[in-house]
Symmetry: C2
């Protein structure tokens, strides 16, 4: 009980690293590696070993002093922390360009997020099969969410409709929304939204590109060629 309490106070920065750890560990697992030290794992991810141990420390640690981490223990432990010990059924809202791309993305299922429903309002799209699944009419939304116990939704509708769809998702019991529309969604406290803004990504890239071209080659991490 205390443990789940503490787990939610973990900083975002740490949470964002867990998937990276998990990904690398699964890779190691696939090639038969049995144990791995914090240094090995950290260096392959370009971070400090102490940070990795510190991250793990939030969850009480996964080994004991003297013993390296065991891949077969770490993988399920991280999966349990992230919440994908059981696959998390997921629905996609909006079967347009992006929605279809995501529906076709097999990695989603591999990483524990099988798409169990794709929804749209466009009659021309409804019925279209994507990887064995039909695009569904919005009428079926609430029923399917309840039947399959869906808690996570991926939102790929136009920005103008994003809030309306969100409200409906919230009423249907969705707890997490992965939002690709460039809009800030209003949701109750008991629902989490994660915005994935393409514009932010490409614009910050552009900034760094400009820095390299205009300002010489120095980087944030230190080295500046003499004044």
């Amino acid at each position: 009980m205390r443990k789940t309490r503490r787990a939610c106070n973990v900083p975002d920065a740490t949470i964002h690293r867990l998937p990276l750890y998990l990904e690398k560990l699964k890779l190691l697992q696939a090639i038969g590696v049995e144990d791995v030290s914090s240094r090995q794992l950290a260096e392959s991810l370009d971070i400090k070993a102490s940070q990795l141990r510190h991250d793990f420390h939030y969850f009480g640690g996964f080994s004991r002093p003297g013993r390296p981490y065991q891949v077969d223990i770490l993988v399920p432990a991280l999966e349990q922390i992230i919440g994908i010990s059981q696959p998390q059924p997921t629905v996609i809202l909006g079967a347009g360009h992006l929605g279809q791309a995501l529906a076709n993305y097999q990695n989603l299922e591999l990483q524990g997020f099988p798409v169990v429903g794709i929804f749209d309002v466009n009659p021309k799209l409804i019925g279209l099969e994507i990887r064995g699944q039909p695009v569904r009419d919005m009428d079926e939304l609430e029923l399917l969410i309840r039947d399959k116990g869906v808690r996570i939704a991926i939102l790929t509708v136009p920005a103008a409709n994003a809030q309306a769809v969100t409200d409906r998702l919230v009423r249907a019991g969705i707890v997490g929304i992965f939002n690709f529309a460039p809009t800030d969604l209003k949701v109750p406290e008991t629902v989490v939204v994660r915005n994935e803004r393409l514009a932010v990504g490409i614009m910050s890239l552009s900034f760094r590109v400009k820095c390299i071209i205009e300002g010489g080659y120095e980087r944030t991490d230190g080295l500046v060629a003499g004044e």
Copy 2:
């Protein structure tokens, strides 16, 4: 000269907010708003006004004490900082599901990143028209990059081919790579990579969802219902 030096030491967190500022400001500009205070702008983005002023301070400030910010000054100033005063021609590598979705995404051009080339190796895709542009053979890559002065590339090829394509992009003079493949790319110091990992996003969402469901409703920001 000093100014460009300093500009590159701006923290990432600030850079990530610039696109949000710009987006909101363009919206205000479109509806004829002439000036805006730090409080107004900040509150519409759910951040503190002092943070916004602090962010702007990295660039010397955009007004003077007593006067609110003028939208018509701020917009071009931010565009100049981000590096999109002139549109940044962009190429897409990999015309699969995701590549096509992005090629169809009109917001890219609206935000200053017109797609001037879409490339693939699949003969069946080459020649396919997407928003008026043909999918091109990789043979044309270097020439088009040089001709159009492209500095930013969007990488949507399978992870297995990502590094090879990257090497070729780097040799062709690309400076910034927006990478959607779940792989860490190795590039020289003079090239910037920004990874957009879907897995990180959806897994951290899943973690927060699990926290809400298991651990009650408390959030990082404080309030925990009594012990």
